[in-house]
Symmetry: C2
C-alpha cells in the first residue's frame, strides 16, 4: 500500500480529483455483472488523454504498482476485478469518437466509447458498428475480451473488426499496431495479440474499427419450434447451407418464460429462435424462403418476421434483457453466465447435453445463445447463500467445458478467461501452449504489473 | 558448417535420403519467383511427419543450427531464402489433407498441401477453399505470410480463414493453437501470432482452415474503362456501396498487353477490371445491375460477364499468368512485384501516382491488383544487368511505400516482409512497435535460430 500512496502523491498534480482514493468514490467501481465476488479497488485513476495514461503507466512501473484497466464493468468473468495494492484505471472517460471515415468504412475511437454511443454518432452516415454483445460495453473492453454477440454470424467478432490499435505498454511507451488498410502482411500481428489479452499486456488507448453499411432491408422476428433439437438442427443446416443470416439466437422455454415476465412479451413457452436478416429487399426475401424451408423440416412454426423497426427493437431489447430477466426469476438471485462455443455440427449435442445436466442437477437455468456461431450460454440463477446450488452449478459448468473441449470447441466464445476460467485455459490449449503465452506475457510485462491474476493463475 | 555436419550425422538415421547435402540436390531449392538473388541452401531436410520435424528442431536447437522453412518457393520477398550455415526444411512432402469436415465447414491439412491440390480434394463436397494468391502456393506458406489474393474481398485473407494450428517450437515442443469453433476468447491469440510470422517463431506442421460453399451461381468477365481513374473509382464505389463482389482485379493497359501476348487473349488495351460475382442466381443478377450502374458513371463499357466455366477459367488463368506474362515482355527479364495496400478511398491516388512515377522513371511496369482490398502490385520488368533500371525501380518502390504509409496504408498487403521490406517495417510501425516484435521473437526463439534475417534486420 505504501507504493500506492507514493504513486498517488506523484500523480496528484496531474490527476487531481480524477485520482479517487476515498472509499465512497472507490465503491462506485465495485459493480460487476458477473457472478464473481466484487472487490473494491484500492484506488481509481481516471485518465482523460493518452498522455495521462502514459504518465500513469510510467509512474506505476517505476513504483512497482499493478494496473487494472476498467471499462464500464460489464465483463462476466472477473476480467477487470480489483486487485489488492493496484490502481484501477477507469477508461470510461476517454469516450470520444475521434474520426469517422465513411469513405474507408472505418472509425477511430477512444477505448471508453460504448457501442450504443458509437452507433448513435454514426447514425447520419448510413454506417453502423455491428458487434453487439448485449451489454452496452465499451469498445476497449470488447477488444480486450474479443467480444462478439448477436451479429457475429454475418459480421464477425471484434477480431475481424479491429483494424489497428494504439497501446500504452507497461513502461509507458506508446505504440501503434495495424493500419487503416483492410489487410496487411507487415510483421507480427500485434493488433490480434492485444485483442483478447484482457489488459494483461498493455492499455488500449485508441482503436480503429471497421464499419458496415446499414442494410437496405431488415427483417426480424421470433420463430417457435416443437423441440429444442428441431430449433438447433435448423440453425446447423442454415449455417451449413451458407444462408447469410445476420442474427440467429436461441432461447429455450425457460429463457422465454423469463423474458415474457420481465420484458412483457407474450411468446409461447417453446424453443424459439430470434432471427434477423439483412440485405437488399430481394436478398432478405430469398433468405426468408430458404430459412422457412429448412425450419419446416424440423418442427418450426410459421416464420413470422417483420420489417417494422419498433417491433424489431422490442424483440432485441427483450433478448438483451435476458440476463436481468433470468435474475428476476428468483428473489435476491445472482446469475452466472457460462460461455461455451463448439463447432456448429456439435451444437445439438452440446445444448441437449446442457439441458440434461441442468435438469439432473435440479438447477434453474435458461439456455440462450448466439447459436449461429456455435456459441451458447447457460444462465444459472442462484441465491448467494445457496452453497449446494453453487457447487452443483460449478460441476455442471465443468461438464459443459469438458464436452466442448472433447469436440474441438472452446471454454469461452466471447467472455474471456478472467479469473473464472484460468484452469480451463490450460485444459483447452495444453500446458505447453499456455507456457508460451506466459513467455509472451513476461516479454511484454516483465514485472507482471498488468492486470495480475487474470488469464493466468498466479504461480 | 561443422555444426551442420554434426547435425547431419545425428539425423542421418532418421532422414536417410531425405537429408540432402549434395550440390545437385540442394540446387533444386534455389528457385525463387521473386527478384531477390536466390542462394543455395547448405543442406535440405525433408520431414514426412510431425515427429520428424520435432526431432529435427530439437537437434538443430541443441546444435545451434538455424532453420529455414520452405514450401514450394513461390514467395516474393526472399521470405524462405537460404541462410548460410542453416538447414532448409522442405515441407512440401507433408502434403496430406488429414480431414475434411463439411459439417463444420473446415478441413485439417499438413503444411505442404497446395491450394489447387486442396480444392481438387474438396471437389465432391460442394465446398472450396477461397484464398487464391495466384501462385499454387502451399497452405503453410500462405499462413506464414498472411497471404490473400483475388478472392479476399468477399472471403477474407488467410487471417480470417485459419482456425487453428499445430506448431513445433524452436526447441522441438509441439503446441496446438486455436480450436475448431468459429470464435474463441480463450487466452492470447497464438494462431494469429504465428500467421504472418514467416517462419521466424516456429514451424507450422498442421492447420485447420475454413471452407466455404461453392456458390450456386458464378458470373465472371472483363470490363474495359475509358480511363484508369474511372476503373479505380468504380472499384471504390463498389466497395463503399457494400456490393459483395467475390473478385475485383485491375489490369492496366500495360498488363492487358502482356496478358494478350502471353495467354492469347484479345482484350482491348485499356484499363480493365476482371470481375467475379458469387451468390444465388437472383443475387448475382442483382450484383451485376448494381455494378453496371456504378461503372456507367465512370466510363465503363458494357459489363459482359458470363456463367460459362471454361471462359471463366481462361480469364483467371490469364490473370494468374500475369507475372510470367510481364517477364516475357523483355528477353531474359526478371520481374519484381511490389505489394502496396491502402485504405480504399486512397486507391485512386495510389494507382495514378504509381503510373506517374513509373512513367517518369522510364520503366516498363504493368500495374495489377486485388483492388477491392485496396491492394495493388507494380511488376517492374528488368534485365538483371540493368543497374540503372534497378536503381530507378528501387526509388519508385520506396516512393510507393511512402505514399501508402502517408495515407494509413501498409508496405505489404500479402507478400510479407521477408528480406526486402525490413526497413519499411520500421517506417510503418515505428521503432517501438518493432522493438516489441523483437521481444516476442526473443521470448519464443531465444537463440534466434528460426529463419534468421527475415522480417528483422540482423543487429
Amino acid at each position: 500500500m505504501s507504493a500506492l500512496l507514493g504513486l498517488g502523491d506523484m500523480l496528484a498534480g496531474r490527476f487531481g480529483e480524477r485520482w479517487i482514493a476515498h472509499e465512497a468514490g472507490r465503491a462506485q467501481f465495485m459493480a460487476a455483472e458477473g457472478h464473481h465476488a466484487a472487490g473494491m479497488p484500492d484506488v481509481v485513476a481516471q485518465p482523460r488523454t493518452i498522455e495521462d495514461v502514459q504518465m500513469l503507466m510510467a509512474a506505476a512501473h517505476a513504483a512497482g504498482v499493478p494496473v487494472v484497466p476498467l471499462g464500464v464493468g460489464t465483463s462476466l468473468e472477473g476480467n477487470a476485478g480489483a486487485v489488492a495494492g493496484a490502481v484501477s484505471v477507469d477508461l470510461s472517460g476517454m469516450n470520444r469518437v475521434l474520426e469517422v471515415a465513411p469513405e474507408d468504412l472505418l472509425c477511430v475511437v477512444e477505448p471508453g466509447v460504448t457501442r450504443e454511443a458509437l452507433n448513435e454518432e454514426l447514425r447520419a452516415t448510413g454506417l453502423f458498428f455491428p458487434i453487439d454483445p448485449g451489454a452496452n460495453a465499451t469498445l476497449g473492453g470488447m477488444i480486450s475480451t474479443r467480444a462478439s454477440g448477436t451479429n457475429a454470424v454475418r459480421y464477425g467478432t471484434m477480431r475481424e473488426n479491429v483494424l489497428g490499435l494504439r497501446v500504452v505498454l507497461p513502461d509507458g511507451t506508446l505504440i501503434r499496431t495495424g493500419s487503416r488498410a483492410r489487410k496487411s502482411a507487415a510483421g507480427y500481428d500485434l493488433t490480434h495479440l492485444f485483442a483478447g489479452s484482457e489488459g494483461t499486456l498493455g492499455l488500449i488507448v485508441e482503436a480503429s474499427v471497421r464499419l458496415h453499411g446499414i442494410p437496405e432491408a431488415v427483417l426480424a422476428g421470433s420463430w417457435g419450434f416443437d423441440s429444442l433439437d428441431g430449433a438447433v438442427q435448423t440453425v446447423i443446416e442454415t449455417i451449413q447451407s451458407g444462408v447469410p443470416v445476420a442474427r440467429m439466437e436461441l432461447l429455450d422455454p425457460v429463457a422465454i418464460r423469463a423474458c415474457n415476465a420481465y420484458a412483457g412479451l407474450t411468446l409461447a413457452e417453446q424453443p424459439t429462435l430470434f432471427v434477423e436478416l439483412h440485405g437488399s429487399p430481394r436478398g432478405v426475401a430469398e433468405q426468408r424462403e430458404m430459412l422457412s424451408a429448412i425450419g419446416a423440416e424440423h418442427g418450426g412454426g410459421a416464420l413470422t418476421i417483420s420489417a417494422d423497426r419498433d417491433e424489431q427493437r422490442r424483440l432485441w431489447r427483450a433478448r438483451h434483457a435476458a440476463l436481468p430477466a433470468a435474475r428476476a426469476m428468483v428473489t435476491d438471485a445472482v446469475t452466472w453466465s457460462t460461455d461455451i462455443c463448439v463447432p456448429i455440427s456439435k451444437l445439438a449435442g452440446a445444448i441437449s447435453g446442457a439441458r440434461a445436466a441442468i435438469d439432473a442437477a435440479g438447477l434453474l437455468a435458461p439456455i440462450l445463445g448466439h447459436v449461429g456461431d456455435g456459441n451458447y450460454h447457460v444462465f444459472f440463477v442462484l441465491r448467494r447463500d445457496d452453497a449446494a446450488g453453487w457447487a452443483k452449478a460449478r460441476a455442471v459448468n465443468e461438464e459443459l467445458i469438458d464436452y466442448a473441449l472433447s469436440v474441438g470447441g472452446t471454454c469461452t466464445g466471447e467472455h474471456g478467461i478472467g479469473i473464472g476460467k484460468r484452469g480451463a485455459l490450460v485444459r483447452e490449449h495444453g500446458a505447453d501452449a499456455v507456457a508460451l503465452m506466459r513467455r509472451i506475457k513476461a516479454a511484454i510485462d516483465p514485472a507482471g504489473l498488468m492486470n495480475p491474476g487474470k488469464i493466468f493463475a498466479e504461480e
